[in-house]
């Protein structure tokens, strides 16, 4: 493509105003290694990953800075073939050295390796070939390796301490460049030398600072073109009777489940969990607590649509149905005096607080007394982590494939003894069959084999009820089609529509085209 970029009608194209993360002010931090505090857009728009994973279609990947990858050594080595002719925005070429530097930095500074990729080493085999070695089989971690690690320019980063470097003048390979920064607004313009010819079409992207409150007004007054906000009453505040232009799309991103503490003598009984599940009116929770913005979860917990292939065939069409009579029947053998639980919720999550209230009302109908307790977020983290709760509500992210979700939900190694903080499997599910299926999944690169393992895990979810899925946690995305069209939709879920997901947001931007074309 031409060095000067497109002139003509494109030059008059309006800027896109984006609200990604609630924030009163921005700090000048564009270091993609950072998870907290880094400004949105750093990964995706400025820095890019090796490959792109569509989280809405598990298994669908796209080459990005890497053209392809190849596993060897039983999943302990991966080799990437890199795209040629890509340039950093300062004109220097993008090479294998940059990739090696990026991964070596993660080895040197474990605190930057936030997704726990078990890297052992990185080396450049050729200017366009990079080999990464791992301590263990890492098929399942491909997303963390190539889908979420942003590659940084070695020639600039090697001069800095990557842990504390805030990178105020970022130089990336991505479609946009930072041009303006102030505490309440930063702005990016398109990279004229971007490697995807003719793209991006949106010339300017502006990121004003909005807090959770302010963004509502911003949406109402039409200041924002693209937001990822929870809007309590979306019809009134955002749509305002213009559904053709003021659109939104809330695809499932993970699953919110009721966690029964399996070390509890009563909750460890499957029939009790079954009864609880039968008594809960999930439709009402979705309608009242979640304002109808999401859907009741599939009993396997795997997000639908998108994850159909991972569903066990027997339960493909399974759905929850309230059955009070059956629930009562199941509880016959349990001493009613023991059916008293405390439901722990983080009180800042108001929708969960409301859901807890509904669960309480539902369970009361089958003779289970629930006391809902709202606690501070960190207290909830610590209590659930340590297993000192009866019932709780928690979200598990889907990740780029059901593996992460299932591992986090069911892997017995994550279940720590009560009193020790766990990082997953908070309900403390210990089941050899589940563990084997998780191992099977991780040990293969073959999609069919992976799907089979996932189906096995799904069956366990439905039959044994280690956790009780409630509803999908939605990804929030509001976008106006008055300036640009081409947004993801249920019909064409090519990327997560939320502006706060990276690098998906960049993919969305690259797909936009002016309204009326």
């Amino acid at each position: 493509s031409g060095g000067g970029g497109q002139k003509g009608p494109g030059a008059a194209a309006p800027p896109l105003v984006v609200h990604a993360i609630d924030s009163g002010t921005f700090q000048e931090n564009f270091n993609p290694f950072h998870l907290e505090g880094v400004n949105f857009g750093t990964t995706g728009m400025i820095y890019e990953t090796l490959e792109y994973f569509n989280k809405l279609k598990p298994g669908e990947t796209q080459p990005w800075l890497a053209l392809s990858h190849a596993w060897s050594n039983d999943g302990k080595t991966i080799t990437f073939t890199l795209r040629q002719g890509v340039k950093w925005t300062d004109g220097k070429p993008f090479t294998a050295d940059d990739v090696v530097f990026t991964f070596e930095t993660m080895i040197k500074h474990p605190e930057l390796n936030k997704s726990a990729v078990e890297l052992a080493g990185a080396k450049a085999l050729a200017p366009d070939k990079v080999q990464l070695d791992f301590k263990s089989t890492s098929y399942a971690k491909l997303f963390n390796i190539s889908g979420s690690t942003a590659i940084v320019p070695k020639h600039l980063f090697e001069k800095e301490n990557p842990v504390t470097f805030t990178n105020p003048k970022p130089v990336g390979t991505g479609p946009y460049k930072l041009v303006k920064f102030s505490a309440q607004l930063y702005e990016m313009t398109k990279n004229p030398d971007y490697w995807q010819p003719g793209k991006p079409v949106v010339p300017t992207v502006r990121f004003p600072a909005y807090t959770a409150n302010a963004v509502q007004t911003g949406l109402q007054q039409g200041e924002i073109d693209w937001a990822g906000a929870f809007v309590p009453d979306i019809d009134k505040i955002y749509v305002q009777g213009k559904p053709e232009t003021n659109k939104y799309y809330f695809p499932p991103e993970g699953v919110v489940a009721l966690l029964p503490n399996l070390t509890h003598p009563v909750l460890s009984k499957p029939e009790v969990r079954q009864a609880i599940s039968l008594a809960i009116d999930r439709d009402k929770i979705v309608k009242v607590a979640e304002r109808g913005y999401t859907k009741v979860a599939h009993p396997t917990g795997i997000p639908i649509p998108g994850g159909e292939a991972f569903l066990p065939p027997a339960y493909k069409n399974a759905a929850y149905k309230v059955d009070i009579a059956k629930a009562k029947e199941l509880l016959k053998g349990v001493d009613p005096a023991q059916l008293k639980f405390q439901l722990l919720v983080p009180s800042p999550f108001t929708d969960w607080v409301n859901a807890a209230q509904l669960i309480r009302e539902d369970l009361a109908k089958v003779g289970i007394t629930v006391e809902t307790r709202g606690v501070a977020f960190q207290d909830w983290v610590s209590k659930v982590g340590k297993g000192s709760y009866d019932l709780s509500i928690r979200a598990t992210p889907a990740g780029a494939s059901p593996y992460f979700q299932m591992r986090s939900l069911l892997f017995s190694e994550l279940a720590k003894p009560v009193g020790t903080a766990a990082t997953g499997n908070y309900q403390r599910w210990k089941d050899a069959a589940s563990d084997k299926l998780i191992h099977d999944y991780a040990a293969t690169d073959d999609l069919a084999a992976q799907q089979k393992a996932a189906q096995g895990l799904g069956t366990i979810m439905v039959e044994k009820l280690p956790v009780l899925p409630l509803f999908y946690s939605p990804a929030w995305a509001q976008f106006r089609t008055s300036k640009y069209v081409g947004w993801p939709s249920e019909q064409d879920p090519y990327a997560m529509p939320s502006p706060y997901t990276s690098p998906d947001a960049a993919v969305v931007l690259l797909n936009l085209r002016p309204a009326g074309t």
Binding site: N213, Q216, T217, Q220, V231, P232, D233, K236, I237, V288, A289, R291, V345, S347, P348, T350, V353, N354, A356, Q357, L358, E361, T372, R373, G374, V375, A376, Q378, D379, S382
Partner: protein, 275 residues
């Protein structure tokens, strides 16, 4: 007059807190399909987004709001009495230390301190919130009480009691304390207002227990539910109004007490002087 209006307001809210839940025995958290309805015959004050009845919430919330207010004021006042009276009565080094402590807590900004403390608080139940508010709210009373004790201590009747052989404890609690009761009442009432406001602020920031219905948590949910933007004034007006009204009631009683002590403060009808 002021006292009467103020006391009327307070009695109203006290009745609401004590007897209200007996009359309206609904669950304040109970949801329904009728979300976001304006005031009507079925829901006198309308409903929240999740269909909770606002009147029920107001009635039950009064318990928490008043409870936190009164509880922390009791704790703070007890502390203020201890510090103020002991320091003021004994004087000397004890007083120096106590009054520096008091002054420190006086200048430290209370709400930020409460926020920070609450931020660390693992359990944000009613009692712990009340304690945190009390911790930051006693200094004002202690300062006033100390100053008053200093002046009362010099009064002849205290000297006289000592001269007739009374011991210090008896002098403090039987001679000085009763005289300070109006001051204590004033500072107690002021602390209640402060504590109710602080609790509301904390809840509004989501730093109190939100699964208990209080006026503050109602405002939190109203704010989170964007009651403002969707024009659901019936959601955020009543709790705020209740807080303000109860504060007004307490303040009116307080000003009334002040006016009894200092009649000059009364508002007066000026009669035309003889022409």
């Amino acid at each position: 007059m002021k006292i009467r209006i103020g006391a009327g307001i307070l009695v109203f809210f006290a009745l609401m807190a004590l007897a209200g839940p007996l009359l309206i025995s609904a669950d304040p958290a109970a949801t329904s399909d009728a979300g976001l309805q304006g005031p009507s015959g079925a829901h006198w004050l309308g409903t929240t987004q999740t269909g909770q009845d606002i009147l029920t919430q107001i009635v039950y919330g009064s318990r928490v709001s008043l409870g936190v207010g009164v509880l922390s004021a009791v704790i703070a006042t007890a502390f203020a009495i201890a510090v103020g009276l002991v320091g003021g009565y004994f004087g000397g080094a004890v007083d120096e230390v106590l009054s520096v402590l008091t002054n420190i807590f006086l200048v430290l900004p209370a709400l930020p301190l409460i926020i920070v403390l609450a931020g660390y608080l693992p359990q944000r139940g009613v009692a712990s919130v009340a304690v945190v508010i009390a911790v930051t709210g006693w200094a004002w009373g202690a300062r006033v009480l100390r100053a008053q004790t200093l002046s009362v201590r010099r009064r002849d009747f205290v000297e006289a009691a000592r001269a007739s052989g009374e011991g210090p404890i008896r002098v403090i609690f039987f001679e000085i304390l009763p005289v300070l009761l109006p001051v204590i009442a004033t500072s107690f009432l002021a602390t209640v207002v402060g504590a109710i406001l602080a609790e509301a602020g904390l809840s509004f920031l989501g730093l109190a227990d939100l699964s208990t219905v209080s006026w503050g948590s109602m405002l939190y949910f109203a704010q989170n539910g964007q009651a403002l933007l969707i024009g659901a004034w019936w959601w955020f007006v009543p709790p705020g109004l209740c807080i303000a009204l109860i504060g007004t009631g307490l303040a009116l009683v307080n000003f009334g007490l002040d006016e009894i002590a200092n009649p000059r403060l009364r508002t007066i009808k000026v009669r035309k002087a003889r022409a």
